[in-house]
């Protein structure tokens, strides 16, 4: 019913990253890798998780509460709750603010997240 909205993660492949910018100098940090729902993602340690996933083509990173529609990066400044994921077992992590670390395990969050 909602397939119209879905950007399938499997349809990735286009590199969205701006490699060189005429004015800005990107300090991306050191290369790291982590897993997203079991898939290995290459990133750098000065990027947030959501940015690394977005650049890697993973557009659907969470789901809506009631209808379970896919949700992607939205406000990118920690306000909107659209990018909340389970990171190393901790739910409700705002991945647009959380930096990538080598070996971290990032998973799509189902539901509101358990407190303990």
């Amino acid at each position: 019913m909602y397939t119209y909205y879905i950007i399938k993660n499997s349809e990735r492949g286009i590199n969205l990253r701006i490699e060189a910018h005429p004015i800005l100098d990107f300090k991306r940090g050191n290369p790291v890798s982590f897993t997203f729902d079991g898939v290995r993602v290459e990133a750098c340690d000065n990027m947030t998780i959501a940015v690394a996933l977005h650049a890697a083509g993973f557009k659907g990173i969470s789901e809506s509460m009631l209808k379970k529609r896919p949700r992607g990066l939205f406000c990118a400044i920690g306000n909107c709750s659209s990018c909340m994921m389970v990171v190393d077992g901790v739910p409700n992590v705002r991945t647009c603010l959380e930096l990538c670390k080598d070996g971290m395990v990032v998973e799509t969050q189902r539901g509101k997240g358990a407190l303990i």
Binding site: S81, P91, N92, G111, K112, G113, A114, L115, I116
Partner: protein, 382 residues
């Protein structure tokens, strides 16, 4: 626009709509309800939404049991289209000192004698119900499974819809500017939308009850005090009952939505009808609640708000008929539990106004008790 009503109720919170509904249910006709904002704009829409029967006086136990019994069947009786979201997940009252233990023993004995199924629990039994409860500094808890949580907005709408279905009329955004009287009898109300002729006026303005009474020339021993509530982000259900402590000054409940809603009594809060937020509140309430439930420490706070407790000298409600002017009635002074006792308020005020025999002992709640000294001092309030 001038109108005529047999009975005019001032206030579109839970008490006002309940009074309106019970008036029509008990045979009144031509009832008009006035609200200065939208329905549930005042104390009702800002309340903690808890429903409990665990009180320390017989009168409060009786009226809260009557009210809870009503809420259990309200969905059907009011034929509400939505869901009033009454979840009987219980109330757990924490006991942190010997004095409180003695009081709770007395309360539970009293409650049981009145048919309220409450009990004292050991710390171990309490943790079976609330695994995240830190019982280190507790002597035990009192618990009643039938208490719980009710959606204030839906409940107000349910009463209002039923009131309208029975022929009642509601005017929102209508400000009362005066109450007219002649020969010691109420004759009507002046509002920003014109004059309303009515020989019976019910003051259910609660937060503003003393203001409305003042307009009618009465001096009620009431004040409205600001109380604050904070709410967190939602998580999966983990806390069933409302956790409440009188000695530790807190209450906290996880709503059906998953958010945690918490409040306390703060010192030196303004009594000037202000409903702005108190900046010192989040830190104070977070400390109190995290001491009791450490697992909540990493929850993110969404926001806080404030509303008014309309407080009487003995923390019990006033159901009263004025002798001058005749025809002026007041239901106020709920002291923080007007939402949970609204069916009792509605039924009692309807009986008082229509001259029906009392279902509940509402004669004892007359304002004259403050002159006679027969107070209804309630020991169990936050």
């Amino acid at each position: 626009m001038n109108k005529t009503a047999d009975i005019c109720v001032i206030g579109g919170g839970i008490s006002g709509v309940a009074i309106g509904y019970f008036l029509l249910k008990n045979g009144a006709k031509n009832v008009l309800l006035l609200e200065r904002g939208h329905l549930a704009y005042g104390a009702t829409g800002r309340c903690g939404a808890g429903i409990r029967q665990q009180w320390g006086t017989e009168l409060n136990c009786v009226i809260s049991k009557y009210s809870l019994d009503f809420f259990e069947t309200a969905q059907d009786e009011l034929q509400y289209n939505g869901d009033i979201e009454f979840h009987q997940t219980g109330y757990m009252l924490l006991i942190s000192n010997e004095r409180e233990l003695e009081q709770m023993k007395k309360n539970v004995a009293l409650q049981n004698s009145l048919g309220i199924d409450s009990q004292l629990l050991t710390c171990e039994d309490a943790r079976q119900i609330v695994p995240i409860l830190n019982t280190d500094n507790l002597l035990g808890t009192a618990f009643c499974q039938k208490d719980g949580h009710l959606n204030p907005f839906h409940m107000t709408q349910a009463f209002a819809d039923a009131f309208k279905r029975l022929g009642g009329e509601i005017m929102t955004y209508t400000d009362v500017t005066g109450i007219t009287a002649a020969n010691g009898r109420v004759t009507g109300i002046t509002t920003n939308k014109g004059f309303i002729a009515a020989e019976t006026v019910v003051n259910a303005a609660v937060g503003w009850a003393q203001e409305i009474a003042g307009i009618a020339g009465l001096d009620l021993p009431l004040f409205s005090e600001r109380h604050n509530i904070m709410v967190t982000e939602p998580v999966e259900p983990i806390l069933g009952p409302m956790i409440m402590s009188f000695s530790l000054n807190l209450y906290c409940q996880q709503t059906p939505h998953g958010s945690f809603l918490m409040g306390r009594t703060d010192d030196a809060q303004p009594r000037d009808l202000r409903m702005t937020s108190y900046s010192g509140f989040p830190e104070l309430i977070a400390q109190s609640v995290v001491n009791v439930m450490p697992a909540l420490k990493n929850l993110r706070v969404l926001r806080q708000w404030a509303g008014l407790y309309n407080v009487s000298p003995d923390n019990a409600a006033i159901y009263s008929a004025a002798s001058d002017p005749k025809g002026f009635y007041t239901a106020a002074g709920f002291s923080g539990h007007g939402f949970m006792t609204s069916p009792a308020t509605g039924q009692s005020m309807a009986e008082m106004i229509l001259g029906l025999p009392p279902t509940l002992p509402w004669q004892r709640m007359d304002v004259s008790r403050f002159d006679s000294g027969e107070l209804l001092l309630e020991p169990s309030v936050v």
